[in-house]
Subunit: 339 residues, 2 copies
DNA sequence: TTGTAAGCGTTATCAA
DNA sequence: TTGATAACGCTTACAA
């Protein structure tokens, strides 16, 4: 109430309630072994004094922080610009809201993770969630041997992926779904704008794409590589067009690149889907902001976020949760495929 | 190094270096009053033992956390979907990267801020930055009497705004700039899609808009109100068109609404800017993703974020920084105005 | 059911 | 320049 009312301590609450520190602690932590009378007195004192437990003291004494870190090795522009992050973080927050845990967010691109690493190793969180498009960053390894860690997606480095806990989308299936929808629509000259070759989603979606084509007796009408940004999608589309090969469909490894591709298509006077079908990946809000609205492979990112928290909580509780959790993508059909 | 190497303590470092706890503490905190020999021995021991100071202990003893909170009373979708947040948070991170502070992010819409409030009042941060489109949320008041607080934008509630520290954009000037560009282009039947009447940016931009029109001897050709979302911009545009009044220009209080308006214009066969000029606000990435690219009033949000940190650090250091900091918007001219 | 007392890992005060 | 020695606010055996 009063402007600078420095928080009351447990000691003061105990005095006000006429009990000992321990009893206050028990009440605060919901121990059943307290008499109703004591509970009432303590709660009353807590309310009167506006008491909030000091977290540092609690952490120090209990060796647990009730905080988990969300580490994102990306710069803010990237982090905020990509709807994938929005959705997965939404799932993380949702699941976390049911727990006493708070989330500490680290956008760790700038300082190469030094500050984040020191923070995590300083015993400030009980665990960490790592979300990135390129988890190649070396410092994640140092985080992982300080606290339990769960990754969004299979980590890039094999030696980490083999031991790490992660929640991944079946990207190979996703690639198959994307290509499959194009094949089913009767397209035969199908190109792809793939993600980077050093990133599992990039790799896996391409594998799925090629597998689906191969199953159908087709061959890719072109493979261009982007970096998941809109500009790279546009550049890749230009490259595909410039190759001279005939193309009647494009599968882009994410919606941002699909959008870049679609603007190039539109600029060069090609109609979607009449001339060229386009399928994206992510089913992000982007997919509803473009005309025609692109068919897209939906990743259950929200669910992925929730599951990451689930696994991490299991890890923290030492319940030995499944090391690898896979969620299935699904095709969301819109207007950019059918002839 | 070893998998579960529970962090070394200052005690162990002291033993390894053959000095006392105090000396280690001095070295870690950069005190000048330590002999070079001791410094060397301690640093060596720190490196060998891989020592990282325990933050909880430090916080408890020093009564300072080296952490600040970013409180955003919005749901994740909103937070991540609006480029304004991306930019301002970018500025915040940038300025913070130069300091030892870490940032704790609270997306506090879900639990009505209970968890966030308890966290902040539990002495876990040295200060808080509050960023939102609608800072009407009552709990900010409770935060403000626990730790120093800096707001992005003038708080909605007058009794808070009168005493709070904030960094605001001159929205009245922004409204003037937007309307002015339309007037300068020779438009005379200018409508506006305003922001909510209970939010300072909504109010101020409308005031600026009307002032500019009035100065030019004009009257608004229609005022529709949106909520800063794209859908609301579209609805407002339909409303304006349905009013039957002739309109040759629209000033939207943000880019998202401008985009919504532009799609309606396009759907109804109107050409921008030939038939109707459009000016947005924010100069967000959105402004470069639409065709034609809309002229927009640029808010220096990145700078605003940096300044917020600046002011908060001043507050924490008890340097009595300026209570109100105003940054000026500027017009970014693109293709959506000129006839 | 309650209280006592011993930490948790730092910083900070004071002497030396 | 260094080292004891109290805090810091809480949890948690252990006793009662």
């Amino acid at each position: 109430m009063s402007p600078a009312s420095s928080a009351a301590t447990i000691e003061e609450v105990a005095a006000a309630a006429g009990v000992s520190r321990s009893t206050v602690s028990r009440v605060v932590n919901g121990s059943p072994a307290v008499s109703p009378a004591a509970v009432a007195a303590v709660n009353d004192a807590i309310a009167r004094l506006n008491y909030v437990p000091n977290r540092a003291a609690r952490t120090l004494a209990s060796r647990t922080t009730n905080a988990i870190a969300l580490v994102v090795p990306e710069d803010p522009t990237r982090f905020f610009g990509d709807p994938f992050f929005a959705t997965i973080v939404g799932g993380i927050y949702r699941r976390l809201a049911e727990t006493p845990y708070v989330l500490n967010v680290f956008l760790a691109s700038d300082d190469s993770g030094e500050k984040a690493t020191a923070y995590l190793r300083g015993g400030n969180v009980d665990g960490a969630l790592i979300v990135s498009h390129h988890a190649r960053d070396g410092f994640v390894a140092r985080i992982a041997d300080a606290v339990p860690v769960v990754f969004a997606g299979r980590p890039t480095q094999p030696e980490i992926a083999q031991r790490a806990h992660y929640v991944d989308v079946d990207n190979v299936l996703g690639g198959r779904l994307g290509a499959g929808s194009l094949i089913d629509a009767g397209r035969t000259r199908i190109a792809t704008i793939a993600g980077p070759a050093d990133m599992p989603p990039g790799i896996d979606r391409l594998i799925g794409f090629e597998a689906a084509l191969s199953d159908a007796g087709l061959e890719a009408a072109g493979i261009a590589v982007g970096d998941f940004s809109e500009a790279s999608g546009a550049a890749a589309m230009r490259e595909l067009l410039a190759s001279g090969r005939e193309i009647d469909a494009v599968f882009a490894a994410n919606d941002l690149m699909a959008r870049g591709a679609m603007s190039v298509l539109s600029e060069t006077g090609r109609s979607v889907p009449a001339d060229i079908s386009v399928v994206g990946f992510d089913d992000s809000v982007i997919a509803t902001q473009v005309t025609p609205r692109p068919t897209s492979v939906r990743q259950p990112s929200f669910e992925q976020g929730e599951l990451m928290v689930e696994v991490l909580l299991g890890l923290i509780a030492e319940e030995a949760p499944e090391r690898v959790t896979i969620v299935d993508p699904e095709l969301v059909v819109r207007d950019s495929v059918a002839r």
